[in-house]
Symmetry: C2
Subunit: 206 residues, 2 copies
DNA sequence: TAGATTGTTAATCGATTAACAATC
DNA sequence: TAGATTGTTAATCGATTAACAATC
């Protein structure tokens, strides 16, 4: 089935399935079922089977799914069965925390270029990569054919950074700035704003 | 209308409305409309009006909404018109970044207690707060009547931490560990996992 | 075989959107 | 007044869930 026909919300759950399968795999578990996966993720088993059915048939009646097989299939579907170079824009507290965080590289997202506009930060080194002047953003991103970027600049600067990234060919932006970005068709943005989550939960408190 | 009847997904959008209104307010803007808010957030104007209608009537035909009024009403509805004490569990790289991040306190979420199990970290000071031994978690959270906690420990330790938090009376958990937590009815969990967002977007890349 | 679990269909459920009377 | 925009209704759209034949 063509990619465009799969609902985006289904795609969004695949990383969760993949995460659970990875844990099972690491624990040496060989088989699982839609029921067990659902239990672990707090999702209905029917939904998991329905989601997977968009991409093919991965299980066997009676026995369920082979953990490593399904894990590899999902990684392939999500295109995370390879390494992706990533650009990081912003080397303040947050940017530095992101640059030092090993979790991205562990999953194949390698921060290959870091940018800031502060002369005091330009030239600093992290994991063998020097912080570059943001003036060179377009040049470097084009040269390295980077398609994924992380924005970790203040809100007031985020849209301008996004515009530059898009212009340089970036197609996926993970935005830590608390502002909704305007991007053209074909460019994806995902948001990380912990304050939004806290405010959401505060509603339910006494 | 009783809180329980408002869909959770509607509550989740209120922080976004509040964020946009705050920016408008800071820019000195006095009035806005559902259309303008929608433009700014990439949401339909009808949806915004529908969402707000769950809580009352906040606008005027012909003129729209008074920015500061709507902002204050939303803050009240979300219960973020006050300060909330927050506990942070885990003082590794991520926990330290969170502890130093000023964005939480700026929105009224004050980190009042920090916990770790590493003797080398216990006793360190951040913003005048000492990192406490996790053994004292229950005692301190009860004493300070903390209802909101942030989990920033490794995945393998997260469920045990969540259990302790719940047992101590925490009702809202912001979980940075890449694992789905099991919590009883009445306790809310929100997840921050940037890798999930990157994997989601990778699907759409060439 | 008997038991378990898939993939899929159809029904249900809930959210989004369009349209418009009311009215500032 | 004329123009603009609300709050709300009803229609549409899409996602979730239950149920079950197929089959390992």
């Amino acid at each position: 089935m063509a990619a465009s026909t799969v609902p985006d919300i289904v795609i969004g759950r695949l990383p969760l399935y993949l995460r659970a399968l990875t844990m099972m795999s690491e624990a040496g578990q060989e088989y699982t079922s839609s029921h067990e996966l659902g239990q672990q993720l707090g999702i209905g088993s029917a939904q998991i089977r329905k989601d997977l059915s968009h991409f093919g048939e991965f299980g066997k009646q009676g026995t369920g799914y082979e953990v490593n097989f399904l894990k590899e299939q999902l990684a392939k579907i999500l295109k995370v069965d390879r390494d992706w170079p990533v650009a990081l824009v912003g080397f303040g507290d947050l940017g530095q925390a992101i640059a030092h965080y090993g979790g991205f590289a562990a999953k194949g997202f390698h921060i290959q270029a870091i940018f800031d506009n502060d002369p005091a930060k330009i030239g600093q080194e992290v994991n063998g990569k020097q912080v570059q002047d943001i003036a060179r953003l377009s040049e470097i991103i084009r040269q390295q054919q980077i398609k994924i970027a992380i924005i970790a600049v203040p809100a007031f600067a985020a849209q301008a950074v996004a515009d530059q990234l898009v212009e340089a060919g970036v197609k996926a932006i993970l935005n830590y700035a608390p502002i909704t970005l305007k991007v053209p068709e074909g460019v994806r943005v995902q948001y990380i704003d912990p304050v939004v989550h806290l405010q959401w939960m505060a509603y339910y408190l006494e």
